[in-house]
C-alpha cells in the first residue's frame, strides 16, 4: 500500500513525460498507469472483503507523533477504486479533449491530474491524522492549479484563488482539529481518536475540535455558506471538473465526517448541525440548478445538491443511512463523471454550453447523446439504473431515521429537481430545438465517447449484476463506516414499498419541472437577490479590501526610505534593551577602575571630537577627515592600552580608507546640504542619544562582569607550548581559531568577487585611455621608494607575525597600501602593470594557500588545519618553518588582492 502510494507519486511525475514525446494517443498510454494502480488495489480486495484492516507505516518522527502510517479498510478501498478507475478514464478523455493545446500544456495537465490522484489516495489511506491533513491540503493546492489551469484568463485565476482560499482555509481548520485531537488523545492515530470519541466530546476542547472538523468538511464539500467556490471552480478544464469537483475531491468532506461520525455524534448538537447545513445546501443548490443556464453549471449545482444529500445521510443515524450514503456516493461518482464528460464533449464540439442556445446535437454527437441518456437515467433514478437503487436507499434511510419529516420532504423536492435537471441536460442540447446548431468544430473521437459510455454502462451493469462490487467494496465500506457489518441488498425490485411510491412522486414532479423548465428558469433568473451572489460579492469585497489594506500597510512600512528603516530598527533595539534592563531590575555592574592616564584620556576625547565633527561637517571631505581622525585616535588608543596588533591594523585601514574614499569623493558632489527637516533632526538625535545611552549602560555592565578568562588563559598557556608562537593574538588567529579565520578570509574573497561585479571591467576596451595625469613632482619622486619600503615592511610583518605584532591581515593591508601609494602617483593601470598579476588572481592564490596549508596535515591523518612544524638547521642557523606561515601568506594575498581590486576599480570608475 505504501509502495503503491510511492509508485503513484513517482509515476505522477515521470509518466506524463510521455505526452512530451507522443502527440495523439498519449492519453491512452498514460492511462495505463492509473489502471495498473487500480489492478494493484484490486489485488488487495481479498483482505478488504473479509472485513480486515490492512495497516502499513514508516516510522518517521515518532517523538512528535508524526509517523507515516496508512490503513486500508472498506471505505478507503471504495475511494481507491473510484479514484483510480475514474482517474484512468479522465486521462483517456483529456488526451482527446486537449488536442488543441501544446504538448507542454498537456504534459502539465496530466501531471497535475495524476498528482491529484496520488494526493486523494494518500488522503483516504492515511491513518495518521497529520498525514491526512497534509494530503488534504495537497488536494486543495492541486485543485487550485487545475482550476487556474488556463492561467491567462482572469476568471480562471479568480476562481482558482477562491477555491484555494475556501478549501485551504478549511484545511487549516482540519489541521487545528488534528492538533487539538493530538492534545486530547495523546496521539495522532485516527483509529484511536474515533475509539475515544466520547472522551474527546467531553473534553473542553471537544466543541472546538468538532467545529473545526465540520468547517473542514463543509468547505471541502461545498456546503452552504462555503459553497460558492464550487460553481466557480467549473472554470477548470472539464475533465478536471469531472474528476475533482464532482467525483472525488469534494467527497473528502463527506469522508472526513463519516470517519469522525462517532465523535460528532457524541455531542447533542453534532447531528443536528450537519442535517440543518445539509438541508439548506440542498435547497440552495436546487434553486440554483434551475437558475443555471450553462450545461456545466447546472451539473455543478446538482453536484452540490448531491453533496448536501450525502451530508444529510452522514448526519442521520441508523445503519440504513450509512448504506444509503455509500450507495449514493458510489452511484453519484459514476453518473456525474459521465455527465461532465458529455458536457465537456458538447463544449469541445460547439464552443458553447448554454442550455438555451444548444439543440439537436444528437445528429453530430450520437454516442455522446447515448451516454448522456444512460447517465441521466441513473441520475433521475429510473430503474433499473444504479441511481434508482441508491435513491431507494436514501428514502429508506430517512423513513427509518429518528428525524421528522422535514428532511424527507426536502430530499423529495431535491430529487425531483435532479430528475428535472437530468431531463433538461439530456433533452435540450441533444434532442430538442432542431437546427439551433448547424455545424460543430470537432467531431466525436473514440477517446471522447468511450469514457462516458463506459461509465453510463457501468451504471446499468452494476445494478443488474452487483455481486462483485457489493462484496468487495460496498459492504466492507458500510461496515467500516458504521462500525459493524450491515446487510447491503442491491436489488432493483423490492416490490411495492413506500420508497417506490416516493420514487414515483419524485419522477412525476421532475417531469413537470422538465416540462416547464424554461418558464421556471426565466422566472428564477429574474430574481436578482440570490444568496450565493451576495456571498460571492462579499468575497470579492473582502479580497479588494485586503489587497488595499496590504498596500496601505506596505506603503507605510516599506516606503523605500532607508533612514526610516534604520530609525525603526534603532527604536526596536532600544525598546528591547530597555525592556531587558527593566526586567533585570538592577543597576549595571561597575568595572574596577584602572589608573587615570592623561595621554590615553586625551586620545579618547580627540576621537569623540572627531566623531562629533563628522556629524556636523558641511562637506564630505571634512566629514571624511573627521572620521579618519576618530579612526587614528582609536588606533593610538589601542596602542596605549596594550594592543599593538590592533593599532597596526587600525592605522593601515585608516590610511587605505583615505586613498579609497578619495577616489569616490572625486566623482560625487561634495556639498551636503541638509536634507532633514528640523523636526526630523530632533527625532533622529533623540533616538540616537537614547540608543547610545542604553548601549553605554550595557557595555559598562559587560566590562564589570566577573572576568571569565578561561579561554584566554588557555590560549596564553598553550600558545608557545602547543603552537610555538609568542604573539598570542596571532596564534589564536592562525592556529587555535584557524577555521574561523579561514571563514573570514573567504568572506573577504567574496567581497572581492562582489567588487569585481560592481566595478567590473565591462567594456574595458571602450573606456577612453586615462587622462593625462597631473604629476606632482614630490609625489612622483618619492612614491616608488616609499612603496618599496612599505612592501618590505609588509613582508617583515608577515614573517615575524607569529612571535611579534604583525601577521597576515596587517601584512596584507600594508602591502596594499604600498600599491595604493603607487597608484596615487602613477594611476591604476600603470600600477596594475607593476603588480603583473590581476588582483583576483592574488585572491584565488591566497585562498588556495589557506586551504592547502590546512590540507597538508590531513595527509598525516590529523584534522584539517592542524599546523605542521619543520625546524632544520641550515648553515648553523636554526630555522622555524611551519604551515602557519603558509596560511598567513594566504590570508595576506587575499587581503591584498581584495583591497587592490576595489582600489583599481574605484579609481577607474571614478576617473571615467
Amino acid at each position: 500500500m505504501v509502495l503503491l502510494l510511492l509508485l503513484a507519486l513517482v509515476g505522477s511525475i515521470t509518466v506524463p513525460l510521455v505526452a512530451r514525446v507522443v502527440g495523439r494517443g498519449a492519453g491512452l498510454i498514460i492511462a495505463l498507469f492509473p489502471i495498473a494502480l487500480l489492478a494493484g488495489f484490486v489485488r488487495m480486495a481479498d483482505t478488504v472483503e473479509r472485513g480486515w484492516v490492512r495497516g502499513e507505516g514508516i516510522n518517521w518522527a515518532t517523538s512528535m507523533g508524526a509517523d507515516l502510517t496508512f490503513r486500508l479498510d472498506g471505505f478507503s478501498f471504495l475511494f481507491c477504486l473510484l479514484v483510480t478507475a475514474i482517474g484512468a478514464l479522465v486521462i483517456v478523455y483529456s488526451g482527446a479533449y486537449l488536442t488543441g493545446k501544446p504538448r507542454a500544456e498537456r504534459t502539465r495537465f496530466f501531471t497535475l491530474i495524476l498528482l491529484f490522484m496520488t494526493a486523494m489516495l494518500g488522503a483516504v489511506l492515511a491513518e495518521n491524522l497529520l498525514v491526512l491533513a497534509t494530503f488534504w491540503e495537497a488536494t486543495s493546492i492541486l485543485s487550485f492549479l487545475l482550476v487556474g489551469f488556463d492561467n491567462r484568463s482572469a476568471r480562471s485565476r479568480r476562481a482558482a484563488l477562491m477555491a484555494l482560499q475556501v478549501t485551504a482555509g478549511g484545511g487549516l481548520a482540519l489541521l487545528a482539529a488534528v492538533l487539538m485531537i493530538g492534545e486530547v488523545v495523546g496521539s495522532f492515530s485516527m483509529a484511536e481518536a474515533v475509539e475515544r470519541a466520547s472522551e474527546i466530546a467531553a473534553h473542553p476542547l471537544g466543541a472546538p475540535i468538532i467545529i473545526c472538523l465540520m468547517l473542514a468538511a463543509f468547505t471541502k464539500s461545498a456546503q452552504v455558506p462555503f459553497h460558492f467556490w464550487l460553481p466557480n471552480a467549473m472554470q477548470a478544464p472539464t475533465p478536471a471538473s469531472a474528476f475533482l469537483h464532482s467525483a472525488t475531491m469534494v467527497k473528502l468532506g463527506i469522508y472526513l465526517l463519516a470517519r469522525f461520525e462517532p465523535v460528532v455524534a457524541s455531542v447533542p448538537w453534532g447531528r443536528t448541525t450537519i442535517i440543518v447545513v445539509a438541508c439548506v445546501t440542498m435547497l440552495v443548490a436546487s434553486l440554483q440548478a434551475l437558475r443555471a443556464e450553462g450545461f456545466k453549471s447546472a451539473l455543478a449545482y446538482s453536484t452540490m445538491a448531491s453533496l448536501g444529500i450525502l451530508m444529510l445521510l452522514v448526519g442521520l443515524d441508523g445503519p440504513q443511512a450509512t448504506v444509503a450514503m455509500i450507495g449514493f456516493l458510489f452511484s453519484h461518482a459514476i453518473y456525474k463523471a459521465a455527465l461532465f464528460f458529455c458536457a465537456g464533449s458538447v463544449l469541445h464540439a460547439t464552443g458553447s454550453q448554454s442550455l438555451r442556445s444548444l439543440g439537436g446535437l444528437y445528429r453530430f454527437l450520437p454516442y455522446t447523446a447515448l451516454a448522456t441518456i444512460g447517465a441521466s437515467l441513473s441520475m433521475a433514478g429510473i430503474p433499473p439504473f444504479l441511481g434508482f437503487i441508491s435513491k431507494e436507499f436514501l428514502f429508506q434511510a430517512q423513513l427509518e431515521s429518528s428525524w421528522d419529516i422535514t428532511p424527507l420532504a426536502i430530499a423529495v423536492l431535491v430529487n425531483a429537481v435532479m430528475v428535472g435537471v437530468a431531463a433538461v441536460v439530456t433533452l435540450r442540447p441533444f434532442f430538442l430545438g432542431h437546427g439551433k446548431v448547424t455545424s460543430v468544430k470537432h467531431r466525436e473521437t473514440p477517446s471522447l465517447v468511450a469514457p462516458p459510455l463506459i461509465l453510463a454502462l457501468a451504471g446499468l451493469t452494476i445494478s443488474l449484476n452487483p455481486d462483485w462490487i457489493t462484496r468487495v467494496a460496498l459492504r466492507p465500506a458500510v461496515a467500516a463506516v458504521y462500525g459493524r457489518a450491515v446487510e447491503v441488498e442491491i436489488e432493483v425490485w423490492h416490490g411495492i414499498t413506500p420508497m417506490l411510491l416516493l420514487s414515483i412522486v419524485v419522477v412525476s414532479i421532475g417531469a413537470l419541472i422538465a416540462r416547464y423548465w424554461k418558464a421556471i428558469h426565466i422566472r428564477l433568473n429574474g430574481l436578482e437577490r440570490f444568496e450565493t451572489h451576495a456571498l460571492e460579492r462579499r468575497w470579492d469585497l473582502l479580497q479588494a479590501s485586503a489587497t488595499r489594506g496590504a498596500r496601505i500597510v506596505s506603503r507605510w512600512l516599506q516606503n523605500g526610505q532607508l533612514p526610516d528603516y534604520l530609525l525603526a530598527c534603532l527604536v526596536g533595539a532600544s525598546v528591547l534593551m530597555g525592556a531587558a534592563l527593566w526586567a533585570a531590575g538592577a543597576l549595571p555592574r561597575m568595572p574596577a577602575d584602572v589608573p587615570w592616564r592623561w595621554d590615553a584620556a586625551a586620545v579618547a576625547v580627540i576621537g569623540l571630537a572627531g566623531a562629533i565633527a563628522a556629524t556636523r561637517a558641511s562637506t564630505l571631505v571634512s566629514a571624511m577627515i573627521a572620521v579618519g581622525l576618530t579612526g587614528f585616535a582609536a588606533a593610538i588608543g589601542f596602542l596605549l592600552n596594550g594592543a599593538p596588533d590592533l593599532a597596526l591594523t587600525q592605522f593601515t585601514v585608516e590610511a587605505l580608507l583615505v586613498v579609497l574614499l578619495t577616489a569616490l569623493l572625486l566623482a560625487v558632489p561634495l556639498a551636503t546640504p541638509p536634507t532633514r527637516s528640523r523636526e526630523r533632526g530632533w527625532l533622529d538625535s533623540a533616538v540616537v542619544i537614547l540608543f547610545s545611552a542604553l548601549l553605554l549602560v550595557a557595555v559598562i555592565d559587560m566590562a564589570g562582569a566577573d572576568p571569565v578568562r578561561r579561554a584566554s588563559d588557555f590560549f596564553g598557556e598553550a600558545s608557545y607550548i602547543a603552537a610555538k608562537g609568542l604573539n598570542v593574538v596571532n596564534v589564536i588567529l592562525v592556529d587555535f581559531r584557524g577555521f574561523d579565520t579561514l571563514g573570514e578570509t573567504v568572506v573577504i574573497a567574496l567581497a572581492a568577487l562582489l567588487g569585481r561585479s560592481l566595478l567590473g571591467q565591462r567594456g574595458r576596451l571602450d573606456v577612453a585611455p586615462e587622462r593625462e595625469r597631473e604629476r606632482h613632482l614630490i609625489l612622483t619622486l618619492t612614491a616608488r621608494p616609499f612603496a618599496v619600503l612599505l612592501g618590505i615592511i609588509a613582508v617583515v610583518l608577515l614573517l615575524r607575525g607569529h612571535d611579534q605584532p604583525g601577521g597576515g591581515f596587517v601584512g596584507g593591508l600594508v602591502a596594499a597600501l604600498a600599491f595604493a601609494v603607487l597608484s596615487l602617483s602613477e594611476g591604476p593601470t600603470a600600477t596594475e602593470r607593476t603588480l603583473r598579476v590581476p588582483p583576483m588572481g592574488l585572491v584565488g592564490a591566497g585562498l588556495l594557500l589557506c586551504f592547502g596549508s590546512g590540507l597538508l596535515a590531513m595527509a598525516g591523518g590529523a584534522p584539517f588545519l592542524t599546523h605542521l612544524w619543520w625546524e632544520p638547521t641550515v648553515a648553523g642557523i636554526d630555522l622555524k618553518l611551519s604551515t602557519t606561515i603558509v596560511f598567513d601568506l594566504g590570508v595576506m594575498l587575499v587581503v591584498v588582492g581584495t583591497v587592490l581590486s576595489f582600489l583599481f576599480g574605484l579609481q577607474r570608475e571614478a576617473a571615467r
Binding site: V605, A611, A614, V699, L813, F902, A910
Partner: protein
Amino acid sequence: MILLYALVGAGVVGCALHMMLSRNLVRLLLGVSLLSTGVNILLFVAGGMGNRQPPLIRAGETQLGDSADPLTQALILTAIVIGFALTVVFAAFVLRAWRTERTVDGRAVDAAERLGLPRQEDDA
C-alpha cells in the same frame, strides 16, 4: 578611565548612527566606517582594558604572563578587517549608484521600486 572609554565608544556609535540616518549615501557610507570604529572601541572596553601589557610571551618564558586579553584582540582584529571590507563594498555600491542615477540621495535611488508593485495589473 574605563567609563571615559565606554562613553567615547558609545558617543562614536551615536554619531555614526546619526550620520547613517542621513539621506546622503556618502554620509551613510562614512557613518558605516565610523560605526565600525565605535563598535570596536566598545568591544575593547567590554573585554576589560585593565592591563596595558601586550599579549606577547616574553623571551625565555613559555607562558603568557600578566597581560591584556588576547582573545578580545583577536576578535577585534578580524572585526576591523571585516568592517573595512564592508565599507569598501558599500563605497562601490555608492559609486555605481552615482554612475547610473547621477545622484547620491538615497531617496532618489529607486531602481528597485521602479520595477513596479507585484500584481499591479490587478488595479487596471
